[in-house]
Amino acid sequence: MSLLIDLLQAALLLSGVVMFAAGTLGLLRFPDTYCRIHALTKADNLGLGLIIAGLMLSAGSVLLVFKLLLIWLLVMLASALSGHLVAWEGDAQGMDAASGDLPSSGNAAQDSAERER
Amino acid sequence: MSSSAVIFSLAGIGLCAIGLFGFMLHTHLIRKLLAFNIMGSGVFLLLVGMAQRSGHTDPVPQALVLTGIVVAVSATALALYLIRRWLQLSGSTELPEDDRR
């Protein structure tokens, strides 16, 4: 029984890591800000969810399980909100989804959002 | 003997050296400020790391570092005020004494 749980936990943790790696690859390789937000918010939230589910299996107490769950929910809320805000700001500055970046690369929307002030 | 404490003491030494290097090399005031903060983090690591090499946690240096972090952020904010004011008055982010040679 415990071997089964260990295997399940390892599988969950590993697939979580794979999701994180995919999200990071998207951040590095995708052409424009909107695509990057998409990769980061979707893949990383799922990755974190899988890792948290894996950790819950060895949590030991119900309180700890709830704490882990709370972490996941809060991170999801925060990343959904920040993704939305970056896209909102990009849209407000007239960034075109088809043609890609604003002048400075990297976190272009965030960068220019800071500059706007 | 705690290997973590030794490793992070070394990390602190590295950060101190990198920070000093950047502080002396850069002329841009914000880079200097970043370098100074890196040096500060190095000192914090060294302080706690050296005290805990025997493997016991030591609350006294930890409390000192906690105080240090808050002081560092207020010093950083103060420096940023001065840099902004300097930029406003002189239009430059470098000091006149700091020629690039």
Partner: protein, 314 residues
């Protein structure tokens, strides 16, 4: 295994520190600096210092990062014209390299030369803990055994905010941030702000027996205020100036008052009577949390009222 993890953390610290100093444009350097702060928070966990980890993540990476990014927003293009500073022919480069290498050598020598025997400090703290009024050794050191440091620390914060107030040019005060009418942001704030206030009070309450305390609670309070400020709510000197100034000074004044009250009894400064220590520390921590929160928030918001319009190149 854990040595491997430590070495990985060490190399990421060094790499991020180097990138902070060399990455162009400056914006990237600042982002690497924030990353360095988050890595340091992990390192503090590895060093059994959860209190510092909390403070590093909230203050070192969080608030310092916000302050730096906000300043970058005001620098505009000028900051980007910086060229790569590493030029092998300049004497500046070699002087910097030799100085930093000799500093590293000296520190390494100091590390090797100092015996790793434990100091008696930890034991002394453990022995004196029952009389300190709290159960968490770090809070006991901060607010009882070495409360001088903490008193001076809040003094430093007050000085920083005083200089900020002095440099703020009140005549040209203007609201530089347009209010974003973003419905999703407003809805999430309604959810997040009460939660953050709860976390802040929990950290304060937890500080007496486990990691947490006035600094971390104050940092969370300030983060809440910064979030509100960035979302278009104005909780600043403009709205209720006197109350705000009183709040900035509250922590320092209460601490000083408690410290000096020992003098009446003929005791040295900052001695608490044993049976009152717990309640006195709680009062100080409450006032400190409020003041640290307000000061850190004001350190961020003040420049938004300070810079005149002509600072921006059109």
């Amino acid at each position: 295994m854990s040595v491997l993890l430590d070495l990985l953390l060490l190399s990421s610290l060094w790499v991020f520190a180097l990138l902070t100093l060399t990455a162009l444009p400056l914006f990237r350097g600042v982002v690497f600096f924030i990353l360095l702060g988050l890595m340091l928070a992990l390192v503090w966990i590895r060093l059994d210092a959860p209190d510092i980890a909390l403070a590093e993540a909230a203050i070192g990476a969080g608030i310092t990062g916000v302050l730096l990014l906000d300043t970058l927003g005001h620098l505009h293009h000028r900051a980007d014209q910086e060229s790569s500073p590493i030029r092998l022919k300049s004497s500046r480069f070699w002087v910097a390299l030799i100085s930093s290498l000799s500093l590293a050598g000296l520190l390494l020598w100091a590390l090797l030369d100092t015996p790793a025997t434990p100091t008696m400090l930890a034991e002394q703290v453990a022995r004196a803990l029952p009389n300190s009024g709290v159960d968490h050794p770090i809070t006991a050191v901060l607010l009882n055994f070495r409360s001088y440091d903490t008193l001076l620390e809040i003094g430093v914060l007050v000085v920083a905010i005083l200089v900020g107030l002095t440099l703020a040019d009140k005549d040209s005060a203007q609201l530089s941030l347009p209010k974003l009418p973003n419905p999703l942001l407003q809805a999430c704030l309604a959810l997040l702000v009460p939660l953050m206030l709860m976390v802040s009070s929990y950290l304060l309450w937890a500080g007496s027996k486990q990691p947490g305390g006035a600094f971390q609670a104050g940092a969370v309070l300030a983060a809440t205020g910064i979030l509100l400020h960035l979302s278009g709510f104005r909780l600043t000197l403009r709205t209720s100036e006197r109350l705000m100034r009183a709040g900035l000074l509250l922590g320092f004044s209460v601490f000083l008052l408690v410290a000096a009250s020992a003098l009446i009894d003929g005791q040295p400064l900052l001695t608490y009577p044993d049976h009152l220590a717990g309640i006195l520390i709680l009062i100080i921590e409450l006032a400190l949390t409020l003041s640290i929160g307000l000061i850190l928030l004001s350190l961020f918001t003040l420049p938004h009222f300070a810079l005149p319009e002509q600072e921006r190149p059109k």
